[in-house]
């Protein structure tokens, strides 16, 4: 018994050492630093809850950055619906299907920076493709990233273009739903919609759950696009939580404040994922479970 445990620990050692060095220690160090005033050049000075108090009282920047991030959560249901709809369209035996699948998947492999450049141009208020299209249809053409109201929807639109990344996971799941279930439902005279609700959705619920969890975690950490494209502007409308945290750490060198923000982010992520987890018992169906 002991020998087996030693062997097991030996095999997982690379991860276990990394876990202690790059997870346990830094998480605790972040917690400690969050209670200090630390500006890198002088050693950290213990100040108790001050960092947290200041952050929670900061209606100028901290709260807006949190609200901006919560706004981005609108993207999750949109991506969920669009992803499943496209996956349903692609889950058929039609000629040229491999090509269609590739077309919808390609946007998700465009490197972030190239994507940022491309969308700055697509969203250009005067000469960009999107507003040209909208004007051709006689629709109002907003200023997108230059407008505090439209900047967040613009970023959401950009991300939805890359919905192929989660779509392909739905597609893989759709193909794993046993056809016998559909046949049984047909014998019972179920309509197409009833089959979708009672067979398809439960069948792919584990990957909906997976994508939702990943989406929640990713949204809280939304950074690169706004760092490169808008720097938080206009009017702090794209100042997201992770960007403000980065600014505190690496531009203002307020490490204590940044660490407090990091721990609050940790707690928020934990609460949100726990919420999804506890709710999942009611809507995620695992095959082979009673």
């Amino acid at each position: 018994m002991k020998r087996e445990m030693r062997l097991g620990l030996l095999f997982v050692a690379p991860w276990l050492i990394g876990f202690l060095l790059f997870t346990v220690y830094p998480v605790l160090a972040t917690l400690y630093l969050s209670f200090t005033d630390y500006r890198v050049l002088a050693p950290p000075r213990w100040i108790g809850w001050d960092n947290y108090r200041e952050l929670l009282a900061d209606t100028e920047t901290f709260w807006p950055s949190l609200f901006n991030t919560l706004y981005l959560f609108l993207e999750l249901p949109a991506a969920l619906i669009l992803g499943i709809l496209i996956a349903l369209l692609l889950d058929r035996n039609l000629r040229g299907m491999a090509w269609y699948r590739t077309v919808f998947y390609l946007p998700s492999i465009v490197p972030v920076l190239a994507n940022a450049m491309l969308w700055l141009w697509l969203l250009n208020p005067e000469y960009g493709l999107i507003n040209s299209g909208l004007r051709a249809l006689h629709l109002p053409a907003p200023a997108w990233l230059a407008s505090p109201i439209w900047s967040k929807p613009a970023l959401i639109l950009m991300d939805l273009w890359a919905v192929g990344g989660s779509m392909i996971i739905y597609l893989a799941a759709l193909q794993g739903v046993p056809s016998s279930l559909y046949e049984a439902a047909s014998l019972d005279g179920a309509s197409g919609f009833a089959k979708f609700v009672n067979v398809t959705l439960p069948g792919i619920s584990p990957v909906i759950f997976f994508n939702l969890i990943m989406g929640v975690i990713g949204t809280f950490q939304y950074f690169t696009q706004t760092f490169v494209m808008t720097r938080g502007g206009p009017d702090k409308s794209t100042l997201f939580y992770a960007l403000y945290l980065y600014q505190n750490a690496f531009q203002y060198f307020r490490m204590g404040t940044a660490c407090a923000m990091a721990w609050l982010l940790f707690l928020l992520t934990l609460a949100a994922t726990l919420f999804v987890f506890t709710s999942s018992a009611r809507w995620v169906y695992y095959e082979g479970e009673k």
């Binding site: 018994m1 087996e4 445990m5 097991g8 620990l9 030996l10 095999f11 997982v12 050692a13 690379p14 991860w15 276990l16 050492i17 876990f19 790059f22 997870t23 220690y25 830094p26 998480v27 972040t30 630093l33 890198v40 496209i86 369209l89 692609l90 039609l94 269609y100 590739t102 077309v103 919808f104 390609l106 492999i109 465009v110 490197p111 972030v112 920076l113 190239a114 450049m117 491309l118 700055l120 141009w121 005067e126 000469y127 493709l129 040209s132 392909i168 996971i169 893989a172 584990p206 990957v207 997976f210 950490q221 950074f223 760092f227 490169v228 945290l245 660490c259 982010l265 940790f266 994922t273």
Partner: protein, 274 residues
Amino acid sequence: MKRHLRPILSHALLLGLGLLFLTPFAFMVSTSLKLQGKVFTETIEWLPNPVVWSNYPEALGNFPFALYLRNTLVICAGVVLGTVVSAALPAYGFARLRWKGRDTLFFLMLATIMLPSQVTQLPIFLTFRTLHWTGTYLPLIVPAFFGNAFSIFLLRQFFLTIPQELSDAARIDGCSEWGIFTRILLPLSQPALATIALFAFMGAWTDFQGPLIYVHDEDQYTLAIGLASFLGRYNGQWHLLMAAATVVTLPLIVAFFLAQRTFIRGIAMTGMKG
């Protein structure tokens, strides 16, 4: 009648939506081949006239693409090597060995996938700064050698699908665990290893925040950081920006077509439960 109509309707929907998803690419390539003065037009000219191929050498001339590519590949190579080596061993320990505490540790590992990087990033940065590692690639490569949770998870899922009888038979023949690992599991897992290598490569290729924090000299820039500074300097010169964007996107599209099977397998593995 209805039976004939449905495929046609599907094709029409897919074609329409597909074109919508492709137009940004067309716009990118089309802009990249235009004269600077022809970029700003009221109605979009899809076919550049004249076709200005020289935008590409001009963009690449203002942007040391070869150097940044080399830098990026150096980091990618280190990260891929580290990830694969340090994922295989723990994945074996979690999938094929029975020991006390295994499931607890495995659960802990899964939990770390949900940990925001921000909550560990700052002390790690401060440590690397004390070690004088900032300004080098070490902070970007060394952590990859300590087991990436997601890769370990994927590989474990794959190991679980390999029949236990193979290991049992080898054990009866007196094979050690190390022998089973290197001579049976690893050769059978090449597709899964390729998948995690590919994911590690993609991750390192597109990583922005890591190099942003640790790389300072322009000579050491990666493609992602280099592009960001290029964007800052040539903002508004869309013909050059789109040429650069096309140049960095193309290799990934080619890689996707070459490695399509590996990609799809990885995605199917993500969806597996266990």
